[in-house]
């Protein structure tokens, strides 16, 4: 926080800011160099915004500023544009153990601050040690700052450059499931960067400070909140996703932390998603970039072995979650050779729907539920990686589109099981 202290020394104290047009927050415990770059970029991008506005730049700090302080005027000749800064305190969650929950708490703190400043829009820039969104190209930063201010959109979500073998939990579950449930094709429902308008700030910050407990910890799903309120959203191509430093987190824990809250959200929004059929595109701005070439081919053997080990040992636990026909199909798959192995999309979609239902019915502990999902997920990952190995990395987007459509096609199965969970499913 050395940079923050320097800035405070330079800046004369002002009175309460009253009303800010745009709050831009660096949502990460970044070092002074990163913050300085981010500040310069935000100042530069603010000058390029179509309408003059009063921008407040929020930095993480050890103490909360009582009043915002002037950082530097954006344009001396233009009294309508100004850039001020304010400190906010990072929430206390341990990012090493529960990174996504820590991010969501951080976002809530930022949105809460935006609410206090009566901001018309709030942009959050990146989290995590590998993220340095302040240094993204100016034109992309402007795209992430402008829409909410101009009143065109209430939520701006990023589209990251596709990478065939990365972000597989999002590719296999988060994206296709949220798309099938809520009907909006938001590529990264759990993004590191986003902008929300004043209409979305209040609902997203409403749970700030509320103790939801560890087990029921909620992540923020801004796209779902926007759909529930019938708000407009768009997406912006902003380049590659920063590498997330999540070392030391077990895959089963990651699934529990990422997919668990999505299942809890499904329970809360059951009346909403049961009415939705199909999906539609969300407007996207900027230039879509082709998938990045992976550094090497993936060796699928370890994932395949993990799946086969799961089939041999976890059948009894899976039988609490999955219907007999699915268990039979999994058993057949476990006998397939590595070359022939392919987990059908329809089977995978039904497995996820069954796990969502089991999470709702709570007939198995949550930790066990996601532990039991892990070998199945690795089976899907092995199947996907083999297909991409064969077809080439450029086929990854097409492959994901097929998977997402299958999720939509299998939604009636979810509806049926959700409404009549006790009905026999062979």
């Amino acid at each position: 926080m050395a940079e923050t202290e320097v800035l405070q020394e330079q800046a004369p104290e002002t009175g309460p800011i009253g009303r800010a047009d745009l709050l831009v927050a660096v949502a990460a415990p970044a070092d002074s160099e990163v913050l300085a770059v981010a500040r310069e970029r935000v100042a530069e991008a603010s000058r390029l915004l179509a309408s003059p506005c009063n921008v407040v730049f929020a930095l993480p700090g050890e103490t909360r500023s009582s009043v915002p302080r002037i950082l530097d005027p954006i344009d001396a000749g233009d009294s309508m544009r100004s850039l001020q800064y304010v400190n906010y305190v990072l929430p206390g969650s341990d990012p090493a153990a529960m990174p996504w929950l820590a991010e969501s708490e951080l976002y809530r703190a930022v949105f809460s601050l935006a609410g206090e400043l009566y901001a018309r829009a709030c942009t959050v820039l990146g989290t995590g040690p590998g993220s340095n969104r302040g240094s993204m190209p100016i034109e992309k930063l402007v795209m992430l700052l402008g829409p909410g201010l101009e009143g065109n959109f209430d939520l701006v979500m990023p589209i990251y450059t596709p990478q065939a073998y990365e972000d597989l939990v999002n590719k296999s579950i988060l994206y296709p499931l949220t798309r099938a449930l809520y009907g909006n094709r938001v590529r990264h429902p759990l993004a590191n960067e986003l902008q929300v308008s004043s209409r979305l700030i209040a609902p997203l910050s409403s749970s700030a400070g509320k103790d939801l407990g560890r087990q029921q910890a909620r992540l923020l799903w801004p796209a779902t909140t926007a759909v529930a309120r019938n708000l407009r959203m768009c997406q912006v191509h902003i380049g590659p996703r920063p590498v997330q430093a999540h070392e030391g987190i077990e895959l089963s824990d990651a699934l529990a932390q990422l997919v668990g809250p999505l299942f809890v959200d499904m329970e809360d929004n059951a009346t909403l998603w049961q009415r939705v059929r199909g999906s539609h595109d969300v407007p996207a701005f900027g230039t879509a970039e082709p998938p990045l070439k992976p550094t090497e081919e993936v060796d699928v053997r370890p994932m395949l072995e993990a799946f086969q080990l799961g089939v041999r040992n976890l059948r009894e636990i899976w039988s609490l979650v999955l219907p007999p026909i699915t268990l039979l199909e999994l058993r057949k798959l476990s006998h397939a050779s590595a070359e022939e192995f392919r987990l059908p999309d329809a089977l995978w979609a039904r497995i996820i729907y069954d796990f969502a239902l089991a999470s709702r019915l709570r007939n198995i502990r949550r930790a066990h539920l996601f532990g039991a999902l892990t070998p199945l997920y690795l089976g899907w990952a092995a199947s996907y990686a083999m297909e991409i190995n064969r077809a080439g990395f450029t086929a990854s987007e097409e492959r994901l589109e097929t998977l997402a459509r299958t999720y939509e096609a299998e939604k009636p199965y979810l509806l049926s099981r959700w409404r009549w969970p006790d009905r026999f499913h062979p």
Partner: protein, 232 residues
């Protein structure tokens, strides 16, 4: 001679009838007490269920982070758990009252013994239930984590843990009930000590190479996987 036999038989029958007649009010009192308290318990549990449902107790528990309570509860509902506890507690009180009434009518001093032993039985049942639940929980945890750690013998390990806890629980229950205490102590000590010694010998001598190979494999794996695939 025949008259004497007949007289003795008549006296025996009279004594039996007298004894049954003496016990009958007690039995009736026992049945009535149990039925009455079961009814009261049912009403109380219904009332508790309604009140808890009105104050949305289940969702409050779920949101308070006490998810374990929900997961251990019947139908995953803490309200059901509370209602059932109330019902069975009232039923047990009814049983005690009935036994006391039965004892008063028969004047055999049985109730003091039964009540004293019943408390031990109840505690033993609670220990047994906890043991079974813990055994199931640990067995599943070991199995799932073992599979996710790529342990080939995860099922065997999970079964071992399950039976270890069950045997431990059974020994505790029998000890608590005072059944064959010395045999249970001795048997359990030999069994438990034997299992630990066998495992130590198996790992230390027989499976030394296997364990070191598994550890080597485990330490090399993440570096390779990290380069190729990123799950999150």
């Amino acid at each position: 001679m025949w008259d004497q036999v007949q007289q003795a038989l008549q006296q025996s029958i009279q004594r039996v009838i007298f004894k049954v007649a003496t016990l009958l009010p007690g039995v009736l009192a026992l049945v009535l007490a149990v039925l009455l308290f079961a009814g009261i318990g049912w009403l109380l549990s219904l009332l508790v269920r309604r009140i808890l449902s009105a104050v949305q107790f289940d969702s409050k528990i779920a949101n308070s982070g006490l998810a374990d309570v929900s997961e251990w509860s019947p139908s995953n509902s803490p309200s059901s758990l509370a209602a059932r506890i109330i019902f069975w507690a009232t039923f047990l009180i009814g049983l005690f009252v009935g036994v006391a009434a039965f004892d008063a009518s028969s004047a055999s001093g049985l109730s003091a013994y039964i009540v004293g032993y019943m408390s031990k039985v109840v505690a033993a049942i609670v220990v047994l239930l906890f043991g079974v639940v813990i055994a199931r929980f640990l067995s599943r945890s070991v199995l799932i984590n073992g599979v996710n750690m790529n342990l080939q013998h995860a099922r065997l390990l999970s079964l071992g843990v399950k039976w270890l806890v069950l045997v431990f629980t059974a020994a505790m229950v029998l000890d608590h009930l005072g059944i064959a205490r010395s045999i249970v102590d001795l048997g359990f000590g030999i069994l438990f000590g034997g299992i630990v010694l066998a495992l130590a010998l198996a790992v230390g001598l027989g499976s030394r190479d296997l364990v070191s190979r598994s550890l080597e494999k485990e330490s090399q794996k993440p570096a390779h996987e990290e380069q190729a695939v990123r799950h999150f």
